[in-house]
């Protein structure tokens, strides 16, 4: 075949389907971006852990105990930290409105600065700028992973929060703060793409995988963020479709789809 000889001169054999996949992902990403730019939005399905956060704010108001928020051990370049901080902004504002203390601590100094700014913004947005005091809501315990965990554990014992939110990048350090949280009987809610199994052991409600990003998109209601989530959904749907189709073919005894993928 003329075309196949021609393509073999240009494309590395066996990599063509990979390239096509890359192209499709690129096109879908671009389409989603354009939709977002035009202001089109999609409704995101209910996320149980997010509902639990809203319930938790109410519970904190009833018990008069604060809410503690931990955005993890990574820096501002990590999308998980940013998603965590978005959640914190929302909680901080809602808490400020009903007079609950929302406190936080982080290990990275840039994250601390950003968190402080978020709290200040939340109190201003809630119409209570006079309630904001620098350094009252955000604490720093050191840059090391375990120094942070031990510091947070001390903070949990001292303040006895009613709700603890772990949202950001965590590794095994979460075991120390998570165990302490369970000791004071706090409702723990968490989401990470780091040590997800430990978060899920310690927390009553969890964001599984990318639910964390979806939650932050729901809260910001930012068209671009929602469009990114939607764009990825289309790709996942395509992947699922390919799997179902391939599975049916494969069960019928045909390797057509497998050969097409060529892995």
């Amino acid at each position: 075949m003329l075309t196949s000889a021609f393509t073999e001169q240009i494309f590395v054999s066996g990599k063509v389907f990979e390239l096509i996949t890359a192209m499709i992902v690129a096109i879908l990403t671009y389409v989603a971006y354009n939709y977002g730019k035009q202001g089109r939005t999609w409704e995101i399905r209910q996320l149980d852990a997010l509902e639990a956060i809203y319930d938790g704010i109410g519970r904190a108001a009833e018990t008069g105990r604060p809410i503690l928020m931990l955005p993890g051990i990574s820096n501002l370049g990590n999308p998980q930290t940013l998603a965590g901080l978005t959640l914190f902004g929302e909680i901080s504002q809602r808490s400020a409105e009903i007079g609950v203390d929302a406190i936080a601590s982080a290990s990275n100094t840039a994250v601390i600065t950003a968190t402080e700014a978020i709290v200040r913004g939340a109190y201003t947005a809630a119409g209570k700028p006079e309630m904001y005091e620098p350094g009252k809501y955000v604490r720093w315990f050191g840059a090391d992973q375990f120094a942070y965990a031990v510091g947070a554990a001390g903070q949990i014992m001292a303040t006895k929060p009613s709700v603890i939110l772990y949202a950001g990048y965590f590794l095994f350090d979460v075991i120390v703060s998570g165990d302490t949280g369970s000791r004071v009987g706090a409702v723990q809610i968490g989401g990470t793409l780091g040590s997800m199994e430990m978060i899920s052991m310690m927390c009553d409600h969890i964001f599984i995988g990318e639910e964390l990003y979806a939650a932050s998109a729901v809260i910001t209601k930012d068209e671009m963020a929602i469009a990114t989530v939607a764009g990825q959904d289309w790709i996942k749907l395509l992947a699922a479709g390919l799997m179902v189709l391939g599975a049916l073919f494969s069960m019928a005894g045909s390797d057509a789809i497998l050969n097409l993928i060529g892995v």
Partner: protein
């Protein structure tokens, strides 16, 4: 017999410093923590010096003069620590981001996405053959993977007529994730238990000679 080797004593002191965390925040733990941070950064400098010697050996010997460019770019990358001059570092960082993202993109498509899709398809073909235990395993793999994928769809299929059937699929997906996480915790327990055994047995065996 208690050990007479000074390094064993240092090691024992470090173990005790770490374990003092169980007592809560205390100076011993702080001491351990600062020792840890100091050695981590010092070790990276020591490794860095020997790595530099190895990496730029072809430049020094004159075999590869072109390496002068990455040398300059590398020096520029150190500026990232000074806020005012951080922009100087953005050029070398751009190269690292560009190469890193390109490499990870081509690898993710092949290993994370397509090979896993192919694995599901292959396993589907094995459901109808072989002993029932294996068939059940393959069926679980196929159904759980696809339903897990549906659980992580956020904007599709949660309204309209598709909602009801998809909600069952999502529920299965959720349990697939829960079983993964639960089993991972069980395995992590074995790991940490092993590390604790290693630390405590060294303390008892090497230091105290029990």
């Amino acid at each position: 017999m208690i050990s007479t080797d000074p390094w064993v004593w240092v090691s024992a002191l470090m173990t005790i410093c770490s374990f003092s965390l169980l007592y809560g925040e205390n100076p011993l733990f702080r001491f351990g923590e600062y020792t840890y941070t100091a050695i981590v950064v010092a070790h990276s400098v020591v490794t860095g010096i020997s790595t530099l010697q190895s990496r730029f050996a072809p430049l020094i010997s004159g075999a590869k003069p072109l390496l002068i460019i990455p040398l300059i770019l590398g020096l520029m990358s150190i500026f990232v620590v000074w806020r005012r001059y951080a922009w100087i570092a953005s050029f070398p960082i751009a190269i690292m981001i560009g190469v890193g993202t390109g490499l990870s993109m081509r690898a993710l498509i092949a290993t994370e996405i397509l090979s896993n899709i192919a694995a599901v398809i292959r396993e589907a073909g094995l459901i109808l053959v072989g002993p029932p235990v294996n068939s059940l395993g393959y069926l679980i793999r196929v159904v759980f993977t696809i339903s897990g994928l549906f659980y992580l769809l956020f904007t599709v299929g949660h309204k309209g007529p598709l909602n009801k059937p998809l909600s069952y699929l999502r529920e299965i997906g959720k349990y697939a994730f829960l079983s993964y996480l639960g089993l991972s915790v069980g395995n992590a327990i074995m790991q940490h238990s092993g590390l604790a055994t290693s630390a405590i047995s060294r303390l008892l065996g090497q230091w105290l000679g029990l």
